[in-house]
Amino acid sequence: MKNRRQILAQSAALAGLVATAGWLPATALAYSKDAFDAKSVADALKAVGAGAPVESKDVTITGPDIAENGAVVPLSVATTLGGVKQLMLLVEKNPNAVVAIFNTSEFVEPNFTTRAKLGQSSDVYAIAIMNDGKAFFAKKEVKVTLGGCGG
């Protein structure tokens, strides 16, 4: 991993070259900015270089059917498939679809839980991207109660 000084030096050197492109290479090296800028599920998959996703029983997404508070929605993504490179969590109707991308390794189970913000009721997706670029998904609808009063 680069330290801050190296990143700054590199940014300064390249800033002139890429000023028109609107992003600095230092952030693009590790962080998949394109994926997080994607507005839709399909664009996000394109950004990470995955093929068209196939619905699969071996991928699961767990979350509440109704979320009273859209700012804190617990969601789990998991798969039983082997050879998973990345597990992505997406919310279809958010301004940017991608919530998180987990890069799995042989040391962890492909099963992650986090909390996400949902702007409105939406389908949420778990997408498993395999080492060979294939993508499998599962989706679930989460309703967000407006007003946060649980009514």
Binding site: R4, I7, A35, F36, N96, F102, V108, T113, K117
Partner: protein
């Protein structure tokens, strides 16, 4: 950052709670100005100094983020370190011991 790692058999459940604003960049303040985005972009977890998990996050992860994952093969006494880096370049690392 609060980290709890509990071993059960050959699997270790790691739960992490981070303190971070996770501002989306979509909200406006009282004067109608957009509040700039401020969120954690990269999370790295390592076991005894070896990276076992990296994650890229967008602004849609909740405020004071929570993350849970399961480690294979860790045992009591092992050290787990978690580092996050946000879009302002700030970073923080905390360590915990598997119990």
């Amino acid at each position: 950052m609060r980290i709890r790692a509990q071993a059960s058999g050959d699997k270790t459940t790691v739960r992490i709670l981070m303190a971070h604003e996770m501002e989306t960049g979509q909200r406006k303040d009282a004067a109608g100005k957009t509040i700039p985005a401020w969120f954690i972009q990269e999370v790295t977890a390592s076991l005894n100094g070896k990276t076992v998990l990296t994650a890229d996050w967008g602004p849609a992860v909740s405020k004071n983020p929570f993350m849970q994952f399961t480690l294979k093969g860790a045992k009591a006494g092992d050290k787990i370190a978690v580092t996050w880096k946000d879009n302002r370049g700030e970073t923080r690392t905390d360590e915990a011991t598997v119990s």
